[in-house]
């Protein structure tokens, strides 16, 4: 059976700037695949290639075994752009009616789908409100609902929580969980590590237009760190530069006014590092110890924090 999405060696350049440099990945049936990367990494370009809005220079994309842009592909794909792509003067209900018609729905099927999407987004009570009067979180949820009216089997969610307050974000997470229960396949792009960790079955880390790691969170951490853990030492901002040489000599990497050390035998190695700091009069303001996560993986692979 053809997978919902298969991308092979996708390349896209804008003039001399390379946006995608040979991206390959596959989304499985019923899977939520996180596309994690900093701003400008190529996430949105990749999504826009999949919905046919950007034509790649080379490589191939197949959606349920068919090429991009065919009527049946469009019918099975739902695109939720990063922007609030709605008509602000129309009500929530009118927006869903419009986009449902654009997706080829009509009559009772459209009415039923619009109602179900409004309920899914928690906006059934606000159906008659003009979009411009809804809160930012409500607009985001309606933006998602507008992409799902035709009940697509592959959903492309492009940073759906951008600019959303924590409470609304939780609501959006619940909506995505609901999609998982419905068995649809989702590509979820984000630069929030916690979203990828919470929602995604697998994560593809993308940077400078390349997939630099792909797997479950546990696999990625294991590949990068094995059984190692992280020790973070935090200094006062002004002191940090003077301690860089000391930290670097012990395998630490600087991140702002903090230094990260990876340790395999925490009890022995932490004591050794702290003793060295005391001996050389390095003043530590705070320290933390944690198991590596996706952000650690990204830092490990790129040498940069995700939000830099």
């Amino acid at each position: 059976m053809n997978p919902p999405l298969r991308i092979e060696s996708l390349v896209k350049s804008y003039g001399s700037r390379s946006a995608l440099s040979g991206v390959s990945l596959e989304v499985k049936e019923g899977e939520i695949l996180g596309l994690l990367g900093p701003n400008g990494a190529g996430k949105t370009t990749l999504i826009r290639c999949v919905v046919g809005r950007v034509v790649p220079n080379s490589g191939s994309i197949s959606i349920f075994g068919e090429g991009v842009g065919s009527p049946s592909t469009r019918a099975r794909t739902g695109y939720i752009p990063q922007e609030i792509a709605l008509y602000p003067r129309l009500t929530a209900g009118e927006n869903l009616d419009v986009f449902g018609r654009y997706a080829g729905l009509g009559g009772e099927a459209l009415a039923a789908s619009a109602q179900s999407c409004l309920t899914w987004a928690g906006l059934a009570e606000r159906a008659k409100e003009p979009v411009m009067k809804l809160s930012g979180g409500m607009k985001r949820r309606l933006n998602m609902a507008a992409g799902l009216l035709h009940k697509p089997r592959l959903i492309l969610l492009d940073e759906p929580t951008t600019g959303v307050d924590p409470q609304s974000r939780q609501r959006i997470y619940a909506m995505v969980e609901q999609l998982r229960q419905d068995g649809v396949s989702v590509i979820y792009t984000t630069h929030y590590m916690e979203e990828a960790e919470r929602l995604c079955d697998r994560v593809a880390i993308i940077d400078h237009g390349k997939i630099i790691a792909l797997g479950t969170q546990a696999e990625l951490v294991r590949q990068s760190f094995g059984t190692q853990c992280e020790l973070w030492l935090h200094f006062d901002g002004e002191a940090a530069p003077t301690h860089a040489a000391w930290a670097s000599a012990r395998g630490g990497t600087r991140n702002g006014s903090s230094f990260r050390f990876t340790v395999t035998d925490p009890a022995a190695e932490i004591a050794e590092i702290l003793e060295s700091a005391r001996a050389e009069s390095v003043l530590i303001r705070d320290l933390s110890f944690r198991a590596p996560n996706l952000e650690s993986v990204f830092l490990h692979l790129t040498g940069r924090a995700l939000r830099e």
Binding site: G52, R53, T77, E83, A85, Y87, F99
Partner: protein, 431 residues
């Protein structure tokens, strides 16, 4: 501090091409157009076109016809331009009236039989009076022609005018003495010689005791042959002119929705659904056309209600012209929108294009008062064709079959605008 604020203002202006264009290009364009219309460049006001019908064929009437033909303020002709190789057929009163009706000439002057016997108004109301057939859409032309007829008469037949006046004086004063009569007869002879010596053209600087008299002596009956049966003749003309100008503004605003959709990401969403760019543009074209049609209808209904525009009498012509006009204006709106990147850019470009087209095309100033060269330039705007069409319907009351040139041009322009807009919209289809 103040200097910094001034500098910031100029920096912002320099980066804002739309504002720059509105600040400098639009005023210069307007100045040039209106200077061209009213500034007397290249020889003053447009000569008034006149059809002359000589039913009298007397020596006197022929002198008047010659004088009118020689008058630089008029473009008088006794026959319309004939086709190549064909002999010109002189105007008669019917064909001259038809020429005024069709807008081929501004005024027709009919010299009736018997005019030569008593060319002035001194012989009383029973005399043969000139007939001026006019079109009140150009109210100035009739007055200009009437005045220039007086001038032509005075300069071409002062002898006859003097004789007529003296006959009247003789009658009213109870009789002149033989000596007075002899002196008057001698003056009339010298006047005839004066005219013969200089032709009918005025002689610059000539001062003489026998300089022709001034004042209106030739009486004429002025008849508005185009607007005579209309309740409020010029309103339909202005409804068309103003209506077309505002159609352009609203069509551009409607077409500009695609720029909003592009900026908000809605266009991405639409084009990733089942809607194609051609569908989208066609939809916007039809929407803008329906909106424009409604606008025009409301405007003419208001005209019918408040200003007695005869909408219901000419409903078929209105429907045809309104449809052709809104197709073209909405096509142009799409073209303007697809050629811009932002709403601000569209606003500036629309202001420039619409105002220039409206000024040249006759929405602001009727084209017939423009110099001929500008009238020809105006034909590149579809305002001119639309207004001509509406004028044919409401003013000249021509049958709808006569509208085909205007309809053809407007529908052709609409198709061309749409095709270019579709081509320009390719930039949104894929990156």
């Amino acid at each position: 501090m103040i200097l910094s604020i001034v500098r910031t203002g100029f920096l912002n202006l320099r980066r804002d091409r739309g504002a720059l264009m509105l600040s400098f290009v639009v005023p210069i364009a307007f100045f040039s157009i209106f200077a061209g219309i009213f500034g007397s460049r290249g020889g003053g006001l447009n000569p008034v076109s006149v059809a002359v019908v000589d039913e009298d064929r007397s020596e006197v009437s022929q002198r008047l016809v010659k004088a009118l033909e020689d008058e630089s303020g008029l473009r008088a002709a006794a026959a319309p331009e004939a086709a190549k190789g064909a002999a010109p057929v002189p105007y008669d009163s019917r064909s001259a009236e038809a020429a005024v009706h069709a807008g081929d000439v501004s005024v027709a002057v009919v010299i009736p039989k018997g005019f030569g016997n008593s060319p002035t108004g001194f012989s009383g109301p029973g005399g043969a009076r000139l007939r001026l057939l006019t079109d009140s859409s150009d109210p100035v032309a009739a007055q200009v022609v009437f005045g220039l007829i007086q001038k032509a008469a005075i300069q071409s037949m002062p002898d006859l005018l003097t004789s007529e006046e003296m006959r009247m004086l003789d009658r009213l004063s109870g009789g002149l003495t033989p000596g007075q009569r002899a002196r008057i007869d001698s003056t009339v002879v010298r006047l005839r010689e004066y005219v013969a010596r200089r032709g009918t053209r005025p002689i610059a600087g000539t001062k003489s005791e026998i300089e022709p008299l001034s004042g209106g002596l030739i009486s004429a009956e002025i008849r508005d042959v185009v607007g005579e049966n209309k309740k409020n003749p010029l309103v339909a003309f202005y409804a068309a002119g103003i209506g077309v100008m505002f159609l352009l503004f609203s069509a551009s605003a409607a077409g500009g929705a695609i720029l909003d959709e592009s900026e908000s990401g809605t266009l991405d969403r639409i084009l990733s659904s089942r809607v194609t760019m051609t569908n989208l543009l066609l939809g916007k074209w039809v929407y803008a056309a329906l909106l424009g049609f409604t606008q025009l209808t409301v405007m003419f209904l208001w005209g019918a209600f408040a200003f007695q525009v005869e909408l219901f009498k000419h409903l078929d012509g209105f429907l045809i012209m309104a449809t052709a006009t809104v197709l073209a204006s909405s096509g142009l709106g799409l073209l303007l929108a697809t050629s811009c990147k932002t709403r601000a850019q569209l606003g500036a470009l629309t202001t420039l294009v619409v105002l220039v087209m409206s000024a040249l095309g006759g929405s602001m100033v009727p084209r017939f008062i423009m110099p001929e060269s500008l009238q020809k330039v105006g034909l590149v705007t579809f305002n001119a064709w639309a207004i001509d069409g509406f004028t044919k319907v409401f003013w000249r009351e021509e049958p709808v079959s006569h509208l085909w040139p205007q309809v053809l041009v407007l529908v052709g322009a609409a198709a061309l605008f749409f095709a270019i807009a579709r081509r320009l919209a390719r930039r949104w289809e894929v990156a």
